[in-house]
């Protein structure tokens, strides 16, 4: 993505008539959206009993993600702030119900009625303050709080997000956990800048037994085979052990220093020669 739409204008203005049409007529976007929603649905881990569920699609836009839900037999209700996008959805005759609403104002839904929620590339919009009355933290809080209430116990919510930076990711995750959700981040293709996709998987009420793994990097560009077995796990949950500090009191040690010097030499840098003083500590009175 060359530029982030969040930085250009508020969502209800950015997705105007022409942008909405452009969005839905681009086969590339349609395909990406379909794949993302397929993956989100997979992460929702709905019970495999053939019973259709009632799902919520937050930031449904023109209903591209909802279509995937319909294809899988589920009923859904979609929420979006852009009237133009919803108009396109109506034209496309999507099967779910549509609501014009702002997720940052909280969802006006009864408690415990929704079996699962997905959201494709929408939640990061909440991190922007588009009006003077907007406070991202409060809007995220209202959103996650109301979502927590309307989900049934044990239900999951999966958000595909494009956080702009680490601070945004932290903010979103922290607000979600404060609202009472458990869960964490699943990262697909963590080493690729373009294919990298982050899914926030939240569970409501009960502790997740396992969060699915992120898909691993596929070596060749055109190889899209996504096998789960040797997948790369990219989960950061509430109790993630902090990265162990490798340094102990004595510092990193002589071996480490020698290795680093060797590495640096191989790069062609000018490195002092090794001697018996290498990696020794200075005396304290120095």
């Amino acid at each position: 993505m060359s530029s982030r739409p969040e930085l250009l204008a508020p969502p209800e203005i950015f997705y105007d008539e022409s942008e909405a049409r452009k969005y839905t007529s681009s086969s590339r976007i349609v395909e990406i959206q379909a794949r993302l929603s397929e993956r989100a649905l997979e992460l929702l881990a709905l019970p495999d009993d053939g019973v259709p569920r009632f799902l919520l699609d937050i930031g449904c836009g023109s209903g591209l993600s909802g279509e995937t839900l319909s294809e899988n037999g589920h009923q859904w209700i979609g929420l979006d702030i852009s009237a133009s996008m919803l108009n396109v959805a109506v034209e496309r005759e999507v099967e779910g119900d549509l609501l014009l609403g702002d997720m940052g104002q909280g969802l006006g839904l009864r408690a415990g009625v929704i079996d699962g929620a997905i959201s494709i590339s929408a939640v990061q919009w909440l991190c922007n303050a588009d009006k003077s009355s907007h406070e991202p933290r409060l809007r995220l809080k209202a959103f996650f709080g109301s979502l927590y209430r309307c989900l049934s116990r044990g239900a999951r919510a999966v958000f595909q997000v494009y956080p702009e930076n680490i601070a945004q990711r932290e903010l979103i995750l922290r607000q979600a956990l404060q609202a009472g959700f458990g869960g964490g981040l699943v990262v697909d293709y963590p080493h690729s800048t373009k294919k990298r996709k982050e899914f926030l998987v939240l569970t409501c009420g009960s502790v997740p037994t396992s969060i699915n793994e992120g898909y691993k990097e596929s070596c060749s560009e055109d190889d899209d085979s996504e096998d789960e077995e040797n997948g790369m796990v990219g989960v950061s949950d509430r109790n993630r052990p902090r990265k162990k500090q490798r340094t102990n009191k004595k510092g990193k040690g002589r071996e480490w220093v020698l290795r680093k010097k060797e590495q640096s030499r191989r790069k062609g840098n000018d490195v002092p020669h090794d001697s018996k003083y290498t990696a020794r500590k200075r005396k304290s009175r120095f």
Partner: protein, 125 residues
Amino acid sequence: MRLISHNLLSCNIKGVKNGFPLKIEVGEVIQKEVDFNADFLRHMFAKIEWKALVEGARSMGYTELPEDSPDATVLDSADDSFLRKLHHALLELHLEEGALVCPETGRKFPVSKGIPNMLLHEDEV
């Protein structure tokens, strides 16, 4: 908007305690046929607020639903006439034009092209 969504929606204005159920002001109702799925109806039945559903259906001109919530045995009986009625009320009736009215404050949420506008003004958040 279908009645299944109406049954879940409540008024979200700050300070409103009884924002449910929203009253329906009918402008235009259309019907769209949807595949019948008994499992889904059984699943949703427990979550439906029956009184709100009956009222909603009445205001949209569908009066076949019984006044009192039937007990769960009807759902499993071989005769699926009840489920058919429920199916029609929940999934096939669409409020195309009209408004939803908050029972406490009387605030109107307009519905156009089947999409209710639930956006709140700044002073209502």
